[in-house]
């Protein structure tokens, strides 16, 4: 493990009843890096985000953020340190408009402020950045899925994170929307210098955006390499396509 790593996990185990969602899983991610996380359905990707953000706690193993042990910390503390996430199934605050949704993350996030008016102005900037400013006074119920995914990203960004966990923000988008979204992720990395972990099924997004990819299968890490190497890794191909295809 290198000292400059922002977020690291060591030998994380997590079971639900008899089901091992993650076993002996380790990872690290640094500032300015986009790490891809792939794996078939149910392989434990979202579980990893739930563990990092403190919604669940691992059975064993350790999660460290900037050298501090956050394994058993509460979600609000982890978030205030600068670890922000999006939800795979979008979870906007439905009775609040977009500005309020984002402004709450601004006031409570890392280096939060107390002035709601100032926070709203900042929230508007973030909505502009994520391409939602024309919907600023709309309610989540009036938005299409694409925009709700953007709202998830906007809200996560608003808390001024050092690590950004993106859970399938491209799922359900059409190819054109995916291209725009990939640009957005790049822009985020360049503008905010965050470390990003990106869960994705859309291979195009993984191949173009990520500098490194981890593949998971049944909670076990198959490999941790460049996007090209992961895509050609026999075990990854087997995990996705079945045993018959491997080695061909």
């Amino acid at each position: 493990m290198s000292l400059s790593a922002t977020l690291t996990g060591h030998d994380i185990d997590k079971s639900f009843g008899g089901l091992k969602a993650l076993s002996k899983f380790s990872f690290e991610v640094k500032a300015g890096e986009i790490l891809g996380l792939i794996g078939p359905n149910g392989s434990g990707k979202t579980t990893l985000f739930n563990l990092i953000s403190g919604l669940f706690h691992p059975d064993s193993g350790k999660i460290e953020f900037e050298g501090a042990n956050i394994t058993h910390e509460s979600p609000h503390l982890i978030a205030s340190l600068g670890v922000a996430r999006t939800f795979q199934i979008v979870r906007p605050l439905r009775d609040l408009d977009l500005i309020e949704n984002v402004a709450i993350a601004v006031v409570y996030g890392r280096n939060g402020i107390s002035q709601m008016q100032v926070a709203r102005a900042k929230a508007f900037e973030i909505l502009e950045f994520t391409g939602l400013s024309h919907r600023a006074r709309r309610y989540p119920g009036e938005l299409a899925l694409e925009d709700l995914k953007r709202l998830e990203v906007a809200r996560a960004l608003a808390s001024n994170p050092k690590v950004l966990l993106l859970d399938e923000v491209f799922a359900g988008l059409n190819p054109k929307e995916i291209s725009t979204a990939i640009e957005l992720v790049y822009k985020i990395k360049e503008t905010y210098r965050v470390a990003i972990i990106m869960i994705e099924h859309v291979m195009k997004a993984i191949m173009t955006a990520c500098s490194r990819v981890i593949a998971l299968h049944h909670g076990v890490k198959l490999c941790d390499a460049s996007p090209m190497d992961v895509a050609n890794h026999p075990e990854v191909i087997r995990a996705y396509l079945g045993a018959g295809y491997a080695g061909n």
Binding site: A79, R91, A103, G109, G112, S114
Partner: protein, 324 residues
């Protein structure tokens, strides 16, 4: 981007003009020599505005429907009464005891809230209701608090009119402070955090909202004003009984009033409390008590079914639609 895009300066200015006028008018009302009956009627309106506005801090903003809030009213009443009794104080000095009584109510809210606020939805509602029953039974069975006989307080040596006027003004002051606090909380970072908790507590936490601390703060604050109100009420009646100051109907009424007016803003509980108290009084004056209850109940059902966000939002949405 215009700087006033995110503020409602116009409505603020309107409030700034109207509110002082209304308050001065209300404060002067008893001096226009109305029938004593009216003074005590408006006293009751103030009391319910205070109760439903403070309930709204936890129940409306944070969405934790406390059905046992009358307990804090009762605790405040008994704390004030005991304060006066132990130090054998005059009524005016006993009234000073309403502030520590409010603080005691807040302290108990913190102790009770710590475990209870981990429960959500109906579980929280039921456990707070139980808390109110347990408090009532406890007071009933404690000889030192007068038990089932209740407690007598000293009375003021003044005419009924003056007596009523004094308590009217006291309750007006307390209610104004309560509504002001509710208004300020609603616009603050604290209020925004509570709203996030109401919408989705888990998401709020991942947005770095310290939900446990915010909830307990809101609960303690929402117990303080009923505590003080209970103290004022005890001095007003000069006799308190567990069945009266721990009356579960009162608990339910303050919830209904806040929901009736609309629990997501500071003005909702004010409108709800004023209108329901007036309707209730009107009904019980002009029709038989049982019939009044039935009409009252039906009215409430209609509002909950057709206007789930309260009458204010219902009407403001309609006017918006007409504008468009």
């Amino acid at each position: 981007m215009k700087s006033d895009q995110f503020s409602s300066t116009n409505s603020n200015r309107l409030y700034q003009m109207i509110i002082p006028i209304v308050l001065v008018g209300l404060a002067l009302f008893p001096f226009s020599e109305p029938p004593v009956y009216f003074i005590s009627f408006v006293f009751w309106i103030f009391l319910y505005v205070c109760l439903s506005s403070s309930w709204n801090l936890i129940g409306g903003y944070a969405g934790y429907l406390s059905f046992g809030h009358v307990a804090f009213f009762g605790i405040g009443a008994y704390a004030t009464a005991m304060f006066g009794k132990i130090f054998s104080l005059s009524v005016s000095l006993t009234l000073l005891g309403t502030i520590p009584a409010g603080l005691i109510a807040s302290l108990i809210a913190i102790i009770v809230g710590y475990p209870c606020l981990r429960l959500r939805g109906p579980y929280f509602a039921v456990i707070t209701l139980c808390f109110a029953f347990v408090s009532q039974l406890t007071v009933k069975n404690l000889e030192i608090l007068g038990g089932a006989d209740g407690l007598w307080l000293k009375t003021m040596d003044v005419s009924v009119e003056i007596n009523r006027t004094i308590f009217y003004e006291l309750m007006l002051a307390l209610t104004s402070v309560t509504v002001l606090v509710s208004f300020l909380v609603g616009r603050s970072k604290f209020g925004a955090g509570l709203r996030a908790i109401k919408e989705d507590e888990e998401v709020a936490q991942t947005m770095a909202v310290n939900a446990p601390r915010l909830k307990i703060t809101a609960f303690a604050l929402s117990a303080f004003f009923p505590g003080v109100a209970g103290g004022i009420y005890a001095c007003y009646l000069s006799y308190i009984h567990p069945d009266v100051v721990f009356d579960v109907n009162m608990s339910i009424l303050q919830v209904l009033m806040a929901l009736f007016g609309g629990a997501s803003s500071w003005i909702g509980p004010v409108v709800g409390a004023v209108s329901l108290t007036v309707v209730n009084e009107g009904l019980s004056t002009f029709v038989k008590a049982e019939l009044a209850r039935i009409i009252y109940g039906c009215l409430f059902i209609v509002v909950i079914v057709f206007m789930p966000n309260g009458i204010l939002e219902f009407f403001s949405r309609r006017t918006k639609r007409i504008d468009n």
